[in-house]
Symmetry: C5
Subunit: 305 residues, 5 copies
């Protein structure tokens, strides 16, 4: 994720870091070259005039903007839903940690609640690794007892098994007389929410916006931009490349951003900072057990992974 | 559902598999032929000039795009709601499985929780079969005791009866002293959610977008596209077929995609992969009981049923 | 509600049953006549030329489409909310029936749970009658003990009193030692949901989209359509009636559909099939008590009341 | 709120009562006068031609429609949220009344549940008075014991104190052995909802749509309309006043409606009928205690306060 | 937040206080100057005519309006979500205060519930300070016991630790026999909501609208406005500066408002009045313990911090 202070309105016009410009620049240069060529040839290829004018582009440009708006919206909703799910993860792990520390009769300083909180942290990291298809091994070793870590490493749905383990912790606490049925139900209720969060993240990862939409819009945007210079060459002359590149910049860049946001758990510049959020959850849960927080240094290139 | 990696922006312009193009190609060729004919005849039929120009098409094209956007949105919402319901099914069955394994005092290795988890898997498959109007027989036989499977086969609302069966399991567990009233309430709460999921799916299947909308928009799209060549023939000449087919491609394809997504539980290319999701739920629930997961081979044509 | 299979794209252009065309035809014919008259008189009345051109119509047509889109959206949301409420009614009555059969210690075959399920069915029908302002008498007599039916008939808020009766059933069951406080709370929780469903339906019925909106949009659509032929007569000539009628068809039909959907519990062709849904709820609840389901014959004119 | 049956489509064009026309008429007449003047002077003031044409108005008119659409949407959402909150109030007070009558062991005919229901009714009226900043005195005197009414009259947040009183009622019932902890929790849960409803209403009242938005859109609408005649005078001639007034009617009226709906708890014609809803809640709660309902006479001018 | 009564429609055209005009005035003056220069030079620089006309601006202006609409919507949603979260904070703290006063057997006048309510108030202020990155010291000293205040001052996530403290209060109350497990669960349930509110606020603060969007839209708006005079100079002549400034005013102002609303917890004129809301929560909670409310004097410049 890119975290950067808003600049003065004038300086924001020339920002490179954090803009999508570098990514789409090659395509725009290609289009610019085409536009220049079209103007140079006055819209004719092999002495055949390509007979176009602005009218159909007006009609269709607005329709295109509408469809892009729809795609954009759907992508942003996915991004924001992903963020909400990780926000809910923070809330729910905090609630469970509070319950472990103050609902059970273990007392704040006992080892058992701290063990439970380690499970919560391990849940967070194993979810992150599952979503990014990275190896959870190091974090599991770091956070869990060796035997549990070992058995989890070969599992497919690691966070689910961790939840079963937390359920087991709860049953043990009940058997030990540290919680009663009602308090167990309060924990269990938050486990249900944890299950919803987990499944929500899996849903976002496994079900993208229907592929057919992406292809259709991608195609429409690019064909539109390629035809654009022919439509404006007669009326705009040498301003054609400027205008065409400007319009194409917006359309192409919007499509590119939508494409990034669609998969919020990835590692592209605009994706969610799952690494930082995992560390933040670890910090806040540990602070509840009395450990002071070590905050990260701010990134030096505005980018947080 | 079509699962395909995003390609390089240039290659995505020529993708066939996963595009809706093959489906709408015949209609587009028809329109292309009409357009060529219109240009050839210079917009006159039987020496009668069809007097049209781009102005009304601009006006109406944008309105049409708006209405298509509305339809599109409604269809996509249905698709996404269907996906959310199946996601909730995953979450809820996992929660119930966790409760069966760790809330009751049967212990993880006992037969009773495993029996209960079989009910959950059978619920999933029987819901899938109900939604797709396919025969649930084989899956019921595979997953349930013979007598129960037999009695369910003749029932109309199979998942509902399975839920009653799960309620019975719960009452038996309580009678056997394995759970108390409070734990029963925790299960029961998740049964309520299961009931909501079931009813939500039935709602999507039984209530499409009002038929009148579909007819109106369908008609408007096609009449618009048929009139289009007459409006542009005078100003665009031989570019008319290109532009008309391009615009029609986007409008017609969007309407066709919206039509597919409207019924997310069907078996068209962009519908939800209920088969794969059912297997996934079966896998993750069984892993909770200690059975290792066998993952599916990836599909070789990007399509998952 | 109109339930009709999607036809081949070409045949769908000529569907009459299920289209809103018959309803708006008279208005369109009136407009067609006006358009023909305008063309015949070349846009002049009493030798006064009505000086209009397409420009203001483009500007305003798009604004109009936007406003219609807003109205459309609001109406469709009401329709879908109505459907969701009846879906929730199905889910909640099923959950309560499951609780009556498996949470209480009456046992599945006892008379008391069956009595309770009758109350649920009566609740459904009395809600339907309240929403449609029809007489609930016959259904109450059919489903309830005579004395209760008699006392309900004179009541204003019948479903509310039925809920009180269900609460009484619950208290009696508790007094008889068949349920404990915790199970009572589980029932009570679903009663709360039932109360929300009931109130949600009453809200949709008692609060339409602000009347002022309807009047404003209605007026704008019709004045716009009436002025349209004057704007296009000079440039389109004898094509004016075709184009005007086509544009007006879409605008007027959309407004007419939005008008129907706004009151989803009514009895117009696109309203919800409350009759069928009530029977469906009755069927599924009775199947839970062991009674086989008798399904309705499919309607022969695509219309379900 | 205006409650009026939908009329025949033709008669709806001439409705005055329930339309926003009377409110905006003076502004439209002003604009009409300006337009006539502009046409008379052929767009020149002091021999200076105001050089405008339709192009910028097309461009900007559509943008304006979009922004108005946004404002409209936000206002309507507030209106509908207000309605939903009052709907939830109805549902929740009914649920609490049902609980008082059937969860406690007082029995339906006892004085205590009836006392509790009086609190609920007083809550409703005191909320209404708080939202409309009217004097709650008469209703409090009518519904509550004198001492409680007296102490509430000087309080700032009356409904909050009433909820504390209901909590006290609950504690007394528990102390008297009429309810147990679990039933108390069921009541308490609905108290939480009541608290959410109260706070939701306060939120709508205390936080309007950001003032800056209202000012910006208001200005844009009026400046646009004032410039409009200059843009069309050359091409439309004496039709300019007709078209300008028609377009302005829609824009100005939409802005005026949005303005009314933004504050749904006020007393303007399109605001919610809080008086009628309060009486309705009183009626339905009293009917639950056996008192027959006296329905209001329908209003004779379509307006319900 | 700006709180100002709606004025008469005519006077609202000239409001300065509460408008965004002062903020964007410099930019508009710059643009005005450019426009005048362009008209003076008749669109030529160094004898090179910048060949532009309104057509591409129409096409792109509408697309731009759509994209701005999207940004606007997303920003307003964030603003409104922030407001909802603070509304929920009010509701939830009131519910918890009610529980402390009437669920526990301490009685209304005891010191313990009052202590708990102090925690709730301290929670509110420490959340405010965290969101605005201001120093919570003074408020913590004012509201909490000295030792607790001291330990919180060095903590990173102060509200979380306060919630742990409230959980401890609850456990102590249980140990003292003042509440039972079920009442503890009712409190705990509201703690979960408090945790969700806290995390929701943190989410809004830590995750802005993707920076790339802001840059892209900012750029597009300003480049568009800078090119605008060249497009209209030929057809509008000396009216160009008027029209360009008018259009730019709306676009630039909308972008500026969206920018402010995006971070609702800041201290810009349109941000939420967290100070006032914190005081209001303090007032209403204290009134529940019997302390009369001292209301703030209304602000004299329409601005509430």
């Amino acid at each position: 994720m890119i975290i950067r202070r808003k600049e003065h309105w004038f300086r924001m016009l020339f920002i490179i870091k954090g803009s999508v410009l570098p990514k789409v620049l090659p395509r725009l240069l290609l289009l610019l070259t085409l536009s220049v060529l079209v103007v140079y040839l006055r819209g004719s290829f092999f002495h055949m005039k390509v007979q176009l004018n602005p009218a159909p582009f007006t009609l269709f440009g607005i329709a295109l903007a509408l469809f892009l708006g729809f795609r954009n919206n759907a992508s942003y909703d996915r991004f924001w839903e992903g963020r909400k799910l990780w926000g809910a993860l923070l809330n729910d792990t905090r609630s469970l940690a509070r319950q472990a520390l103050t609902l059970s009769s273990y007392g704040r300083e006992a080892a058992e609640p701290k063990q439970f909180i380690q499970y919560l942290i391990a849940f967070t990291y194993s979810l992150k690794h599952q979503l990014r298809r990275t190896d959870a091994g190091i974090d599991l070793d770091r956070l869990l007892p060796a035997s549990l870590a070992a058995s989890l490493k070969t599992a497919t749905y690691k966070p689910v098994l961790l939840m079963r383990e937390m359920g087991q912790w709860l049953q043990d606490a009940k058997a030990a007389g540290r919680i009663d049925s009602i308090q167990q139900a309060s924990f269990d209720n938050n486990f249900n929410k944890l299950s919803d969060i987990l499944g929500g993240c899996e849903r976002l990862v496994s079900t993208p916006i229907p592929y057919t939409y992406s292809v259709l819009l991608h195609r429409t945007v690019y064909i539109y931009c390629l035809l654009l210079p022919f439509g404006f060459v007669d009326s705009l002359g040498w301003m054609t490349p400027v205008i065409v590149t400007f319009i194409a910049y917006t359309f192409v860049a919007l499509e590119a951003i939508a494409d990034e946001l669609e998969e919020p758990f990835g590692m592209e510049p605009n994706d969610l900072a799952l690494d930082a959020m995992s560390r933040m959850i670890e910090n806040t849960l540990l602070e509840m057990t009395g450990k002071p927080v070590v905050t990260d240094a701010p990134p030096n290139n505005y980018y947080i992974s």
